[in-house]
Structure formats: C-alpha cells, structure tokens
C-alpha cells in the first residue's frame, strides 16, 4: 500500500531482489516476517536482547529487530532460509544442530544457527569456552546450550577441513 509516508526500498535477500514500499520505521525483522513471508527469522523480544532475529548483512551477524529495513538497502542479506544450498544440502552448522539435538522448541534456533555460522567465520570457535562466550548473545530458554556448543564445535571442524 503506497501512502505519502512510505518509501520504496530494494533489498537483496538470499540472492534475490525484492522491492518494497514501507514506512521508514519498519524494521528489517518486520519487513522479513510480515512483508516477505520470510518467517524463519524469529522475534523474541524486539528490543535487541535475545538474538532470535539474527541475520547476516554482508556476512556479519546483525540483529534484525534493531535494524531498519531502509538501512540495509543495497546490502546483501542472508537469513536462515538462504543458508542451505539450492539443492537442499544443509549447511554444516544446520546438520550439526540436528545431529547434536541443539534445540528443543526451535524458536531460538534460526538465530543460533546464523550466529554460529558467523562465530565460526570470525574465528571464535577455537575452544568450548570461546564458543560459549561468542554465542552468549543468543538466548535459549529451552536450555540447549551444551548441545549448541557441541554442534558449533563439530561444524567448526568440518568447515575448517
């Protein structure tokens, strides 16, 4: 719906281009979930406290609830839906999460996985303690933490080899 208060924006998400008319106050999170039917990215708090909304912008982890959609115009956004390969082959982190049972309800999981991919890429998966520290921004109330550490450790070894 166009109105005087909306602006046109163009987002590149998981390699696809999307054009949207949104109010400038619309967050990347709500743009993904409510306008683009990309609901894999979760809203746990909407105030930057839980990590459920973690996505990658130009390869770096970012909280989509604290990012305006208009801020990321022209930048490359990756969400959980874009992590596996086109043929459905899971990313090493996704496969490790399944194998290690690194989730229960699954609501924090997309954010955990996006964080984990970045954590490994940043070189912060060198030890269990380092993984715990660099994954501490993603809350999991189901308490999957020990299994998340195991999954990140396993995926880091696979990604590096």
């Amino acid at each position: 719906m166009t109105s005087p208060t909306t602006i046109p924006i163009h987002l590149t998400i998981n390699g696809h281009d999307h054009s949207l008319e949104v109010e400038p106050r619309v967050t990347l999170l709500d743009a993904l979930r409510d306008r683009l039917d990309l609901t894999g990215t979760k809203k746990g708090c909407d105030q930057g406290q839980c990590g459920a909304c973690t996505v990658h912008v130009d390869g770096e982890r970012v909280l989509a609830c604290l990012t305006l959609a208009a801020q990321v115009e022209g930048r490359s956004i990756t969400t959980i839906e874009g992590l596996a390969e086109a043929d459905g082959t899971l990313h090493a982190v996704q496969a490790a999460f399944l194998e290690q049972d690194a989730f229960q309800c699954g609501y924090c999981t997309p954010g955990q996985i996006m964080s984990a991919v970045a954590c490994i890429r940043e070189g912060h998966a060198g030890s269990d303690d380092e993984i715990r520290e660099y994954m501490a921004g993603n809350l999991c109330r189901c308490g999957a933490y020990p299994h998340i550490v195991a999954a990140v450790r396993q995926a880091a070894l696979e990604v590096q080899s």
Binding site: V26, Q104, L139, R141, G143
Partner: protein, 766 residues
Amino acid sequence: MTIHDLRTRHGDASDGSADQVGGRLSRVDGPAKITGAAKYAVEQQLEGLAHAVLVESTVPAGKVRAIDTAAAEGAPGVLLVLTPDTIPPLKTASDWFGTPPPDVPYCPLARDIAFSGQHVAAVVAESFEQAVAAAALVKVSYDEAPAVADLSDPKAGDGIAIDMMTKEWGEAEAAFAAAPVRICAAYNTPREYQAPMEPHGLIAAWQGDRLTVWEPSQWLDGMARTYAEWFAIPFENVRLVSPYIGGGFGSKALALSHGAVAASAAKMLGRPVRLVMSRPQTFTGYGGRAATRQTVTLGADRDGKIQSIVHRGVNETSMGGMWVEPLGSVTSVMYATPNFSSKQNVVRVNSVVPGAMRAPGENPSAFGIESAIDELAYEVGIDPLEIRLRNYAEQDPHARKAWSTRQLREAFVAGAEAFGWARRSPAPRSMRDGNQLIGWGVAAGTYPVRRAYGEALVRILADGTVEVESSSIDMGQGTYTILAQTAAETLGVPADNVVVKLGDSRFARAGVTGGSRLAGIMTGAVHKAAGAALDHLVGLAISDPRSPFHALQANTLVVAGGRVSSPRGDGPEVSIAELLASVGADQIEAKGDTMPANSTAEDRYKAYTTIATPLTHTDGDYSRHSWCAHFIEVRVDEDFGTVRVSRVVSALDSGRLYNPKLAESQWKGGIIMGIGQALLEEGIVDRRHGRIVNNNLADYLVPTNADIPDIQTISVGIPDPHSSALGGKGVGELAIVGVAPAIANAVFHATGKRVRDLPITLEKLI
C-alpha cells in the same frame, strides 16, 4: 484381540534401531526448524490481516476514570480502538476444572484495576507499526487505590489458610520439641518467569460463527472450550491451530484475556487480527511462578535420623484469582519421618494471578527440604549424601503405599560415582583453586507421575506410509518424534514412513500438555491405535480371498521394515502397499484412546477439555514418581562473591525413556533453568508503584550460553508398568527440581554461608 506380537523394550541401547521406541532418533521436526520452514502459529500469512496492540494499566490498584481515545482513533491506519466501554461483553467461561461459571458478562479489558500491566485498551490498525504508534496515544486516567506490592508489604498479612494442603501424621510439634537435634529455617523464592522465547500471541479469524485461532498452545481442546464459552458458540465451531510452540514451560495452557481481545476485534472488523504481546507485556500478561516463603523445622536424632518435620508455606496470589503453589509436595514424600505436619497459606497481592512454571510446587518445595536436610547434615556432622540415604523413604510416607519404582538410591550411587563425591573434603571453605572457593553440593528431586487420557488416529495409506494424528502438541519435548517411533515400532515400518500431525484441534483429542504427562499418555494412545490398525491389516491379509496370504491358513503374520511375511517365512513377502492393493483397500484407519471402556461422549469432552478427571499418582496400590539426584560444583570468587557453576552430574529416574537423545535434552534444559533460578532469576517489584521493573530479557536474567558448563546426565530408570502403557515416567519437569538447593548447598560448602533466599547473588555472599 491382539494378533501381533508386542515386544518389551527398555529404553536403552539394547532396544536397537533408532526407529523404535527407546532409540536415539533425531527430531523428525528438526529439518523444518533448522531451515526456517517451520511456521509457528502467528506466522501464518492471511489476506487482510489487521494488527492489534494492547494498552496496559500503569497503576497497581484502583479504577479507570476515563480513557481518551481521540488521538489514537485519528492516527494513520487505525481501524478500531477498544476500551471496556466499546468491546462487546462476552460470557464468563468455566475454569479449568469445568466448574459452571457464574452467568455474568466477561470483559477482557479492565475497568477495575488489580495489578499494574492489566489490559485496559487495545488498538487495531492496518500495520503493526501503526498500531504500536497509536497505542502510545491512548490516554488513561485512574482513581488510584492503595496496593499490596508483594509478600513483604506490611499490608500483606498472613493470608488465607488452604486447608486442603494440610498434611499431618504423628505428633510433629511434640516430636520436634523432644528431638535432641533441631533445625529451623526460612527459605524464600522470588517471582520467576517462564520467559519462553516465543512471546504469547495469536491470530483470530471468523467465518460466520466459526472461529479459527492460530495460537501457541499447550492445550488445544481446553483453550477451544474457553473460546467457545466466551463467544457462546458450540465447541465444534472453534478450531485451534498450534503446529509448533516456541516454548511454554507451563505458560501456554490457557486462553487468556489477550486472546479474547483479539478474537473480539476480529469479529467486529470481519478481518483476521493478529495480537502478539511485546516482551515487557509478557511479564504481566500472564502469571509466572508465585513468590514463596517456607519455614522448615527438622527434629532429628544425633545420628541424623529425622524424627519430625514441621513445614509452613506461603505463596502469593492475585487479588481476584487463586493460585496455590503446593509447597509441601516434596517435603511430604522425600524422607521417612514418623511425625509430620505441613500447612499452607496464600496471600493476596496486586499482581497478575501467578501460574504454572516448570514443576509448580515441587520446585520451591525441594528448595526448602533439600536445603534443610543439608543444614541438618552439617549440624550432626554427617556427609550430605549419607544423611539422605539414612533417611531414605522405603515407601511413600504420606500415602503409605509402595513406590511403583524408585531408583533414587541408584541415582545417588551413580551420580556420586561419576561426580567423584568420595573425594569431597567435608569442611566448608576447605577446597579452593587460587582465589576461587570450590564447593560441592548434592540435592534430590522428584515429580509425581500425572496421568490422564488421550486419543490418536493411525492411518495406513495406500502407498504403505503411515499418518498419526492427535491434537496434542510439541513444544520441544519431542512429541512428533516419539509418536513416530511408537507407530513405527508397533506397525513394523521405518520411522521415515510415518508422518505425525499434531497441533490442530480437529484431530483426535488430547488433554493438557503439562505436568509431564503427555509422553506417557500419547505413546499409550498411539500404541493402541497402531496396534488396532495392525490387527486390521493382518486380519485382512489372512482372511481376504484376494490376499497373497489367504492360501497360507496362517493365524498371524509378521510386519517388519514395512514388509509383510509369514512368521515361518514359508509364504510370500510383500510390501504393505502391495498387500493393500491386492485386497483393494485404499487405507486402513484406527483410533485408539486411553479412556476407560464405556466412556460416554460427555466423559470424553470432560477428560480432554478440563483437568477434572486425572488419575492421581497414588491411585490403587502404588505411589508413582520420577526421581533424581544432582551433584553440582560451584566456584565462588572470594573477593567478589560471584558464583559460577562449573560442573553438573545428574542421575535421573524417568522410568523407560522413549527417546534418550531427546530426554537428555529436556533434562539438561530443566537443569539449566534451575541454574537460572538459583543464581539469576528474580522479578523485582517497585514497591511504590507495584510494578515489575525488570520486565525484559536484559534485566530479568535467564542463563546464557556462557553461564552453563558441560552437564552430564545419567539415566537410572527402569520401565515402570504402573506409570504408563510403555513404562515411562515424567521427564520435562523432573530435572529442575533440586537444582537450586544443590547449588545453595554447594555455595555453603564453598563459603560457609547459607543463602536461604533465592537467587544467590553476590551481595548475599560478601
């Protein structure tokens, strides 16, 4: 008649394949959850969806004098502003026991304010952003009244005695007075919050007088009943859909006022309406765990044998509602004592009515008794593990019945061995590593086996695949997976060939998912339904003249790996699909339930939509509980008083495990929530305004990954035939029980300071 062979399984490696009950099958709903494909309730994309945002009271007590909605109504995109005056009155619904309600109107927006955060208005707009902005423009004025902020408010008083919580035997007071060793202490737990990562919310949509609600739910049939009663429509006209639930921990079992607001708005607008609480609203939109106070008095011999327990408990409830957190539940079953007395009061405060949070009752109860027995151990100079064994209850001391199974001694032995308890130096402050004081603590936990009823439908399709349907739910416990395993094992097909459908109230019915009862009930129902379907399949194969087995004259057949053959292997071997094709059947369907025979439709409705008909855990000859023992190491910084949990070994008796991989996850989740309870979690009340001030995830501290060490869990359970059809006992709630006292006991061992007031924060130690 059962004409197929049911094998006994034990929930361990001897059970073989992951496809079967007891196997370590990975979550079957896992692929959807790790790829973002799993659509949670409020993520449905509906045409014409409008967005509602709640406005809450900012005072804890009084009356709404006026609500000025003009600015909000004039804001861009606003469709509707609801207040107590403009929302159409609903009918009052029955409570969860099904008690007939008073015939008075129900208004989900409040005129009379009983707590800060109560819903007083709502704004519905075209977009979420517009609704949020307009909600901020609603101006509410109040005639404020004095409030009781919390249990420590001088106006709180002693409260109301709850006589049905009284448990007494022997002469507790006299025996205490006569005992050579006496311990008496008060133990407190604060308000705590379930804080599931998925906030509460829903989408409501009407078609004529039919209502569909997409809402995260621990109890589809119970919530559908409430919606039906509110809007005075038949139960069948309400459909609840809840395919995945982003955590509940007790908080998502009931239809609440925000649901009534959203459904009312949808009806008024003739459009689907989505309403999701903001994270701060989740702290007052429904109740967390009530704050509690307990006094535990132990009288004992010099050798540590308990002679008397006198226990008094208090929990907070709201001004208008009643919540009883059963504080004497563990106190009355954990240890043998000839004399016992437990009584409980509730105190009304200006808060939302508290609710169920992981092991309501058992959790705070264990903090009292498991701390107190530790204090007794030091008083008489006996090892804290040894004193628990000396007072071991060989039968249920309260019900005076044999335990169905109680592997608690085994849990103590296995846990102590794995932890290295024998190397513990007994004196407080006697173990250290540099400036860190090290403490080792132990505590036990228990949770009763709650049993009720459920139904399942099993359908064998023409292609040989199997569907299982039930209106029960999976909020992370693994229901999808264990029901697939149960159907696969019973039918003799690979679990890959089974599709489990849950979370739709149109499916075969189920009661509440709470009290760790779901797995035991639903594996029983699916086992029964699948057994009936298999009987039907084998019966057709033997008797239908078109069947390749007809000429065999066999009286039974074997189904394994999705293929049918004769037991002696002397006939043909065909796939289920080929067999169905040969007899011209396009599917086989069977329903199974765990209800008593001859149950009427009314009995079933009551069993699935209320909690009025559960079987108590002490029905018949046995007392049924799951049990656990936690061994925990803490490191306390001597200068700063910071406590870190550095090691956890827990040995648990949940009976037979349907899937050990998933059960271990749930146990660890409970232990982690217990670490949060012990060290971090506390709803802080601003006494001036009766408000929860830390109503967000940065200030209400739940454990992060960096707070949690590696955790070892050991299963010591054995199949318990008295607890469930397949031998399992409760898993989900058990493991949190006893964690907080194990940590408090470890902190005492490390520092010599006994903290009886959770959470154990640094200012209590320095």
